[in-house]
Each structure stands twice: as C-alpha cells, then as structure tokens.
C-alpha cells in the first residue's frame, strides 16, 4: 500500500488539470466539488497508507518510492522520490483532511465569485505542492513543493488583484519568501558539498554516524532556519503573513494558518539529527527565535481590530511556539502542536470567514458584537477554537502547549517564562476577540446605519443587494460552510487524544501515542528530559499553565465585557512595534541608496566593461572592413604580391633552391 504514496500528490494534480481544462464549463459550484473530492481522495490514500505502516514493525515504517531519476549529473543524482514514513504520513493526513474541510467551506464562501473555478484551481495546485513538500525524499523535491506553495500563496493572496492592497500583499509575501528560499538553496548546495547528496536519509545518517562535521551541520541548520523563518513567518521575516490576510478567508485558513506556514517547522524536524550534531548554541538560537516571535506577535495581536489580523498574529505566535519546541529538542511536541494548531486555527479562520460572510464583508471587530444570537453555530464552534488555543483543558491546545512548555523549562527558565507570558497573552487576546465579536452590545446596527444611511438618502433606488444598506442584519452561513466548522470544532476539542500525557491516571495504553508513532524519525534528536526538575514537577507545571490561561481569560473578561479595567492597547502594539515601518524605512532609505549604488556600479563598471569591449571590436572591424573594396583585381594583386614575397622569403632568406 505504501508503494502507492505517489497517488497522494497525484489526486490534487489531477484535480488541478481537470479544473484547468474544464473549470469554466464545470463552473460554480461543480468545480469546487471536483477540487474537494480530489483532496479527500488523497486523504483516503494517506489514511490507508497510515494503517499499512501501523501494521508494520517500527523499524520498517519508512518506504522510499522512486518515480524516476530527475537530475542525473555526474555525482549529483537526484530522484523524484517520495518518502512515506511516520512524519510525512502524519503531515499528509492533516494537510489533506484540514485542506479538504477548507475546500468544502470555500465552496460556500466563494459562491458567486466571478473567478470561482480559478480559485479552486489554485487551491488544488497548492495541496499538490504541499504534499510534494512533505513527501519529498530529498531536499530538492521538498524545495519544489516549497516553491510551489509559495507561488500558490502569491496567486491566492493576490486573488482579488484588482484591489491595490491585495496585489501589494501578494508581492510582499512572494519577495519576503524569496529571502528564505535563498537560505534553503544554499543549504542544499552545502548538503551536496558535504555528503554528496540531497537525500534526507543520506544527510541524516551521516549526522547520526558522526561523519558530518559540526561546522557543516551548523551551516545547514542555520540556512534552513532562514528558510523556515521565511516560510513559517518567524522573526525577522514574519512581515508578510499579516498582510497575507488580504486573500480570501479560506486561503488564510488553508495556507496561512494550517498548512504552508508549518512547512518550516516540518523541515527542521525532518533534519533533526543535523540540528543535534550542530554546535550547542544553534538549538538555543532556534528556541529563542521561536520564543521571541511568539511573545512579540502575541503583544501585537492584543491591539488589532481586524478580525483576521488578530488571527494572523496569533498564527505567527503559535508557530513561534513550534519553533521554540524544535529548538528545545521537543520535536514531538512541535509536531503535536502543529496538528492541533492546524485544527483549531483553521477552525478559527473559517469561523472568522463565516462571520465576515454573515456581516457582509465587514472585518472590523469594532463594528461587530453580540453576534452569537444571529450565528449560533459559528459562535459555538468559534468558542471551541478559542478554548483550544487559550489552552483550557481538556481542549487540544492545552495538551500540546503544555508539552512545549515542559520541554522549554527543562531547557532553560527564561524560555519557559517567555512561553508562559505568551500563553497568558494568547488567552487575553483570544478572549478579547470572542467578546468583541460574539458578546457585548451590538455595535453594527448604529455604525452600519450611520455610514450607509446617507447613500440611501441621496435618492438612489433602494437596491436589494447583499450589502449593508439600511436594514442590516447579520445572518448565519449556509450548511456547506457550517459542516467544516463543526467537524473541525470536534477535532479541536478532542485532538489532544493523539498524545495524552501520562498524568491524571490516564491508562498507559492511551498516552504518548504520537511520540511512539514518530519515534523512528525523531529518535536521534529528541531531548531526554526524564531527569530534570521540570519532569518531576509536571503537575505543578500543568497547574501553572491552567492558572495562566484561566487568568488570562478572566482578565480579558474583566476588561472587555465587564469593563472593570481600562483596556491597555498601546499604539506601539497596534502598529506592530513599528517593525513594518522600520523595515520600509530601512529598505526605502539606506537600503535604496545601497541598491542604487549597486545599480550604478552595474551600469557604469560592469556594463561599461562589456560595452567598451563591444565598441572596440566594432570600431576595429569597421576599419578592417574598409580594406574589403570588392575589386577582384585588387585581391588578385595582393595575392600575387603575397606569393612573390613568400617566394622571395623562401629563396633569399631561407636559401632553399
């Protein structure tokens, strides 16, 4: 069964080609159903491969399926090969399942859009690329998928490209990702130079056997960390993700929350033996990048008013947790959080999409409130997602976040403190969002009327559009959008069962299932914490984590619903610490001057040299060609003179004859 792993990318590719050829004929909504079916077909294949691998002994759970030799150049032999092992199959399972749910949601969300079929064309291409990324057996196949998801991300962010901001956001995402991509490329070159291959198995085995030098391993890790920072939106390259919210909401859910942005964490987990044999400061660096990103993004999320911007910064923050986990050697926890995060963040984004849909494309939370009465199912599922991300037991986010914090404390106390502060902030900003959207007083009536009324008063015919003219009333979304919400809410609620901790008297057969499953992949890199203080005081840590999340919720409740405390949302946070402006200023002034200097150098020196040589040759040729008079007699005369001179030279000087 595992030999059929190539079917997993094949189905979305087939869906992509079908929509490419017949998309317009299929139209709305059939094209959407075709795309959804393709993704679910991949999920079915992935699930059967999962059960196949499950039935094997642990050490035989990795199968390499080679389709063909892709780049045979001397000693560089790269196959288009897929690796079906516990990590890749787990990734594919949640990518295709969550992706399928989001496809289904999008059928409802994108209904009526003039580019309906094109949207699903890109979505299927995205899922295809994402499966390539996670299934690739070597860095180059992964890189192919890596670039593919980046390209699709660009297409989809700029999907409504007639809107200036969407087009700009698409470009920003693409360019920012290029910075990371160059890191991945250099890492590939370095890998080839060091071990003569780009295959993960060769690279990881050379790290495990100790033949990979620590300096080379450090280089590869840091370059891949740069790539991961670009793709997974970490400091310093996180800038593009909040702007990427210009895309349609299902895109934000699929690409910018659940799947693509986890690519960097996946890649780092994939090469965990290389990270392990790097210098000691390398994992620490990774952990701090993650921790600082988590805290930084959480503070920004605290002061955002756009419903999707809050979730975007929250995503950056949660991925920061995953990177923190990778840095502390908690690969299982990183992947665990990735899976639970995929469920609850996709749920939250789709919930936000449902709200935006119901509010007639309104995204400002200040114009919402009290929506739970109008959209009960959306509200209920959103609340499940909120409890999951805030880390309230027994929802899934609690288990995965707790695991990360445990490993963080085992590594160093400052990392743990940053993690805990971030957890409190997470609870606060998510509670704030839930209250602003679903509770409190309804702010949309007055605002909608105040803004929309003058348009009606100007004597325009009262058009019966879907817009907020006069009698504005939010509505619940259609069932096709609610089904994914309910399914994802169920997953977000119970997702923790895949890796329950050995606490609270949970029978040992049901605990650490994910850890056992991933064991062959992360065996070498996983940190051993069984003799640390943190490990011995797990119950205390759980108590602290629960207290923090409940405390955060209570704090936000007091501020935003009861209004006992004034909200603290400094402009510094709302503006994202002015990081975006700082980068813009830097690139706009000294950066621009630098680039202009380079351009100057290029046009003057480099082009000057090239053009100078060309001009010199041309001038010489012009003069030389003047000798070509076109008179046969002249040529004949010159030949004759030449013959005479040659003969003279032979006879007189060389003395022949």
């Amino acid at each position: 069964m595992a030999d059929l792993v190539w079917l997993i990318p094949a189905f979305p590719l087939a869906g992509f080609l079908t929509i490419l050829l017949f998309g317009r004929r299929l139209g709305d909504p059939k094209a959407g159903y075709v795309a959804t079916a393709a993704v679910f077909a991949s999920f079915v294949v992935a699930a059967s491969i999962y059960f196949d691998l499950l039935g094997r002994p642990e050490e035989e759970r990795a199968t390499v399926v080679t389709l063909f030799s892709w780049v045979p150049v001397g000693t560089l032999q790269i196959d288009l090969a897929f690796l079906a092992d516990p990590l890749s199959i787990l990734m594919v399972l949640f990518v295709t399942f969550v992706g399928g749910m989001i496809h289904l949601f999008a059928v409802g969300y994108m209904h009526g859009d003039p580019k309906f079929s094109k949207f699903f064309l890109y979505l299927n291409l995205f899922v295809f690329s994402m499966t390539l990324l996670v299934l690739g057996e070597n860095l180059l196949v992964t890189f192919l998928g890596w670039e593919g998801v980046g390209t699709c991300s660009y297409f989809l962010i700029a999907f409504w490209h007639t809107r200036e901001s969407a087009a700009t956001a698409g470009k920003k995402a693409f360019v920012t990702n290029r910075v990371g991509d160059f890191g991945v490329m250099l890492a590939m070159f370095l890998s080839f130079q060091a071990v003569g291959s780009m295959s993960y198995s060769v690279l990881n085995e050379s790290a495990e056997s100790g033949s990979l030098a620590a300096s080379t391993a450090t280089g590869i890790t840091l370059l891949l960390l740069l790539g991961a920072a670009g793709k997974s939106a970490q400091i310093p390259l996180y800038l593009w993700l909040p702007d990427a919210m210009e895309g349609p909401t299902p895109v934000s859910a699929l690409i910018h929350a659940a799947t693509m942005v986890t690519g960097g964490v996946f890649l780092l987990t994939r090469i965990n033996p290389v990270i392990t044999v790097s210098y000691d400061w390398v994992p620490t660096t990774i952990a701090w990048v993650g921790a600082i990103t988590a805290l930084f993004a959480a503070t920004i999320a605290l002061a955002q008013n756009d419903i999707k911007k809050v979730l975007a910064y929250s995503t950056v923050s949660q991925i920061g947790y995953m990177v923190l986990a990778v840095g502390t050697g908690a690969y299982v926890a990183a992947i665990f959080h990735m899976v639970t995060h995929a469920a609850f963040k996709a749920l939250l984004f789709l919930g936000a999409g449902s709200v935006i849909h119901g509010m007639h494309e309104e995204q400002d939370m200040r114009k919402m409130g009290a929506l739970r009465a109008f959209m009960p199912i959306t509200a209920a599922t959103f609340i499940v997602g909120w409890l999951a991300i805030a880390g309230v037991p027994p929802f899934s986010g609690f288990f995965s976040k707790d695991e990360i914090l445990l490993y963080a404390l085992a590594d160093s106390v400052p990392l743990y403190v940053v993690g805990i502060v971030t957890a409190i902030l997470t609870a606060v900003y998510m509670t704030r969002q839930v209250i602003m959207v679903f509770f409190g007083e309804a702010r949309w009536t007055s605002l909608a009327n105040a803004e929309e009324a003058p348009e009606v008063a100007e004597g325009e015919p009262p058009v019966e559009t879907h817009d907020a003219h006069g009698e504005f009333k939010p509505h619940e979304s259609p069932p096709i959008m609610l089904i994914p919400l309910v399914v994802l809410a169920a997953l977000a609620a119970i997702g923790g069962i895949i890796n329950l901790p050995g606490l609270f008297g949970i029978p040992s057969g049901g605990t650490y299932r994910l850890e056992e499953w991933l064991h062959p992949v992360i065996e070498f890199g996983e940190a051993k914490i069984s003799d640390t203080w943190a490990y011995d005081n797990k119950y205390l840590l759980v108590a602290i984590a629960v207290a923090c999340s409940l405390g955060g919720i209570a704090l936000a409740y007091a501020i935003y619903l009861k209004k006992r405390l004034p909200p603290w949302e400094p402009t510094l946070f709302a503006k994202g610490w002015y990081y975006d402006q700082a980068v813009s200023w830097f690139m706009g002034n000294p950066g621009r001057d630098g680039f202009e200097a380079v351009a100057e150098f290029d046009s003057k020196v480099v082009d000057g040299t090239v053009n100078g040589v060309a001009v010199a040759v041309k001038e010489t040729a012009t003069h030389a060609s003047k000798r070509q008079t076109g008179y046969v007699r002249q040529y004949a005369g010159i030949i004759g003179i030449g013959v005479v001179l040659l003969l003279g030279w032979f006879v007189v000087i060389r003395g022949i004859l």
Binding site: T622, A624, S625, Q628, T629, Y631, V632, R633, G637, G640
Partner: protein, 103 residues
C-alpha cells in the same frame, strides 16, 4: 639545322603565359576575359608540369596535369554559370560593378 628544343624554353614559355594571364586578370574588367586569363594561368602551370615531367622522366607530373584539367573543367562549369547569370541580370556588368559586399 634547327637547334634542339631546350627544356628551359618550355619553362620560359610557361612563365610568359602565366605572366600574360596574371597581367590580364589584374587589368581587365570584363568577367569573361578575366576568366580566360585564369585559364591561361592554369595552362601555364600545366605546361610546366609536362615539361619537367618529361625532363625528369617522372610520370607523376603528367598525372597532376589531369587533375588540374578536371578541376579546371569543373570550375568552368560553375564559374561560367555564375557569370552568365550575372550578365543576364545586369548586361554589360564589369567585375568592378560587382562590389556590393565591400566594407
């Protein structure tokens, strides 16, 4: 009695013929005449071959003449073809008129 013909006479004659041919090629502008001059030079060379072959008793010199004649015949076919087509297109053209490809 007429003196025996010295081998050097043949060579002198050949040199004379070659000189006439070369001179004609340089000073005449009519393509057809220039062509005949070339033939004259070729035959001067042939004469040298034959004279020296006889004098030295080496058959190879005479063999070379056949090669020259074959090549000359082939050259005449191509050369005359070109000249005829040029003159048909531009009657009365001289070699100096055909200087379009000059630098």
């Amino acid at each position: 009695m007429i003196a025996a013909i010295e081998p050097s006479w043949y060579l002198l004659l050949a040199a004379l013929l070659f000189g006439i041919g070369a001179f004609g090629l340089l000073v005449r502008r009519n393509p057809l005449v220039m062509f005949m001059c070339i033939e004259l030079m070729l035959n001067a060379a042939n004469l040298t071959f034959v004279a020296l072959a006889t004098q030295l008793g080496d058959i190879n010199g005479q063999t070379a003449v056949f090669f020259v004649m074959v090549v000359a015949a082939a050259e005449v076919v191509v050369g005359l073809g070109i000249i005829v087509s040029i003159l048909r297109r531009r009657p009365g053209a001289t070699a100096d008129d055909l200087a379009e490809l000059k630098g």
